[in-house]
Symmetry: C2
Subunit: 501 residues, 2 copies
């Protein structure tokens, strides 16, 4: 074998081994949330810490550095595949070798401590208990960026960590335009929709809910021979390749909650199942393209697809069949409105897709100011309230409904929130591109046929792995730069037609 | 800290780390049998292989050898605890370092190949397909023994691997005596019991069965805050410390099957939960004393306890409450006979506790002859039939009901079967010792109180870990050498009184 090719194959084997060990740790993490006995947490923590240390050792093995050097050398002939794999391998290797072990340990300890401090502060509604954690986490974040050569722009470092190539200025440009167009639209829809209503569908057993959502998620494309669904407190999706695991939770009087959670997680799962893992697992070519693209896949199925009229033409009779008397007291239009209810709420995870993006813009603006030094941690609660008033028209009465609501910052996850909104933008832009190629998509859905859309996503997004960053991927697939306009158009079409007549 | 003490503490930390990684692999093994999606097997195999390699690397790290050498040196002052820990650490380190990596890999590959070849041969009832696997496995077993310095007595090596200190001559002496006394007793009980009868308890839902067996296993002492029960094809128990996982399986018309499987596995689980893990996990002091003692714990709860009249005085009304009409058509004595049914059957795992031990003696005799060279693999089916006739009075019509029935040899697990029967002997000997100290044990059970027995086992067996080997442990707890006589006495008392009147 040519020496470049042989070094490349050795690197691929090595990266697959790292991913294999990481996936073992992932399974322990899944199990922790789904199955762990009440008193098993300390032991599980010990297992995960031991695995993390092993994985760090394997990831930072000097041989990896040698292979990367050989493949980056002047004499190495590179294909496109090799270039993509090498870029990500270099990125991961630098992260593994530049962050000192003592720092990684300090960050892990602080993340665990931060989680518990946050949970206690949230329960007590006492931001003062949480502030020192946030200060320490921001300090750690700055140090991490410095170790990785980004002390000039620590917030950019975190955006780029979640979404390769993303910068604060790019996000800022997109969010500013979105805010300009979404704010007036959101205000008129929220005003027209009126106050939130309870779900019209009551009293569906967990068994019936599970049977329905399994049917839905299997039909849209989640392969249950290569994955499963279980119950956890907070829905999530983990795993990869031939073992993708998603969770949901059941509320007897809100069957739409479990259903849409499951469709969302199935969107993540379908993406993971569509990555070219058998050849490329662990490398850039077998890896998702970042959190924004991941989120676009969950949102597209959850929103563009599963909140459409076509989708419900097929599934409404199936859902009604689970109720004695077919839930005849609930009219079709009431059901469709319940599925697409809009009302501003202080809590991000309870919000609808019209207001959701403003929750993200709020967090992005605060994160920028925290990292630029414009805003001190002590000023966060007031700044949060001010933005909630400006963006959502809400008066936040308690920090539990404000700055204490999200877990992310407690574990040092900065620069993560933007990917939720970027994912919504990408989902809309992909959606209109797909629709332009197959205008009859909703008619497919009305027949329970999701195969054209699935195949289109498989080819255009899933099969590409992390060959390109999010912005490049969107440009290649849709022919346009990423823009908030498709999202605004989608929200106007769906919710304008429903609420603004 | 004194240098010996400091080296010892370093060794303890190291051994705990090895066990922690092993327990992560265990969890993946549990998950494979309980949760794995249909197409996830290859990926799981890759994860387990990667973890096995990591664990081998950590176990055989030169620093371990240095610590063992320091602690074994002339100047080292050893306590009893240190001696026990050191002996096991040396044993494990020698195994990790003396078996070459290529051999470990060859054995693992062959175990996987052997399993599939066995499954295919069993399905086809074709021993010819299985014979080459067995020949290869015996060859590998001899090579393993040679690497570990036991080429003189490869079978002893495997007995000792499963039960430290055990030898073929010790087992042979015990089994010969057992056979002499058990054979005539078994023959008269089987003759008196007549042909096997179907279970009198029909049609119990899985939910009702699960609720009943959860109640039973919790009352005898399995702590569900530190463990759980799930469903798998073959019942087993895995995990350790604060996360012990057992499984059972449900058959609608045989509720006693799931129940007794669960009690058996709960016995294993109660033992694991009782080991002094927080201080000693991974060392001899926090480790079970070998497979025979492990089996004694499962059998004691399953048989001596859960087949007793006292036990059923408490649980019979609870079981009846699950049936409409209280299963009034089944009399109490019929129920008790169903619980203690006896009938010779060709299949070990379906056999009752009177005939069970003869299934083990059959396998022990064949294993001895295979390793001594007296018996070639080709002669196994005929030798099996002959022994089944002699020991169980059965004519084996197909190898599926003979030599092809067990999975053990397909993976190279030789010298394992004897621990099942040794476990039965130990259980009986422990039982009579406990009874001599508290004659009212069955009256405890009749009140649903198992705490005295549990506490007695906690102190005398569980808290001891692997401080002593099985023979020493039995001698210390009961004051007598291990003997088959308590088992014979127990079977005579329970089954003689039931069937021989």
């Amino acid at each position: 074998m040519h020496p470049t090719k042989s070094a490349f194959e050795e690197l691929v084997v090595h990266l697959r081994r790292v991913q294999t060990l990481e996936s073992a740790a992932d399974l322990l993490g899944w199990d922790e949330q789904v199955n762990l006995p009440e008193l098993g947490a300390a032991q599980r923590g010990e297992q995960l810490a031991a695995l993390a240390e092993v994985i760090h050792g394997v990831s930072s093995a000097p041989r990896t550095g040698e292979l990367i050097a050989v493949l980056s050398g002047a004499g190495a002939e590179q294909t496109d595949d090799m270039r993509a794999v090498l870029a990500q391998a270099r990125r991961d290797y630098e992260r593994a070798t530049r962050l000192p072990v003592h720092f990684v340990r300090e960050k892990a300890t602080q993340a665990s401590h931060g989680y518990h401090a946050w949970a206690a502060a949230r329960a007590a509604g006492d931001f003062g208990k949480y502030a020192p954690v946030l200060e320490k986490n921001i300090d750690l974040a700055r140090r991490e960026a410095a170790y990785l050569g980004r002390s000039d722009a620590p917030y950019d470092h975190f955006l780029d960590y979640n979404d390769p190539g993303m910068t604060a200025s790019a996000v800022s440009r997109l969010f500013t335009e979105l805010k300009r167009d979404l704010l007036p639209l959101m205000r008129s829809i929220v005003a027209a929709a009126g106050p939130a209503q309870p779900s019209p569908l009551k009293g569906l057993t967990e068994e019936a809910q599970k049977s329905f959502l399994s049917d839905v998620t299997a039909r849209i494309g989640f392969d249950y021979r290569r994955g499963r669904i279980d119950v956890s407190l907070h829905p999530f999706c983990s795993g990869s390749g031939d073992d993708v695991r998603m969770t949901t939770r059941f509320k007897k009087d809100e069957p739409l909650d479990a259903l849409f959670s499951a469709i969302h997680e199935a969107g993540h799962g379908i993406y993971e199942q569509g990555l070219p893992a058998s050849r490329w697992r662990g490398t850039a070519l077998g890896m998702h393209a970042g959190m924004a693209v991941h989120e676009s896949q969950s949102r597209l199925w959850e929103n563009q697809v599963a909140r459409s009229r076509g989708f419900w033409r097929f599934f409404e009779p199936r859902l009604r069949a689970l109720f004695p008397g077919g839930a005849a007291e609930v009219g079709s239009e009431d059901l469709y409105r319940a599925i697409n209810a809009v009302a501003a709420t202080p809590i991000r995870v309870e919000s609808d897709e019209v207001t959701y993006n403003l929750h993200i813009i709020l967090r992005f603006e605060l994160e920028q100011r925290l990292f630029s030094g414009d805003l001190a941690v002590g000023g966060l609660p007031a700044a949060w309230r001010e933005l909630a008033r400006e963006l959502l028209g809400l008066e936040i009465s308690s920090d539990r409904e404000g700055v204490l609501q999200d877990v992310h910052w407690s574990g040092g996850a900065f620069g993560y929130f933007p990917s939720y909104c970027l994912g919504n933008m990408i989902a809309s832009q992909l959606w209109y591109r797909a629709l332009s190629q197959r205008p009859a998509l909703e008619e497919d859905f009305a027949r329970g046929d999701f195969s054209w859309l699935l195949q289109w996503l498989r080819e255009n997004v899933h099969a590409q792995g992390r060959r390109w960053d999010a912005l490049t991927l969107v440009k290649r697939v849709t022919g346009e730069d990423l823009s908030p306009q498709p999202l605004v158009r989608y929200l106007r079409e769906r919710y304008g037609s429903l609420y603004l007549g």
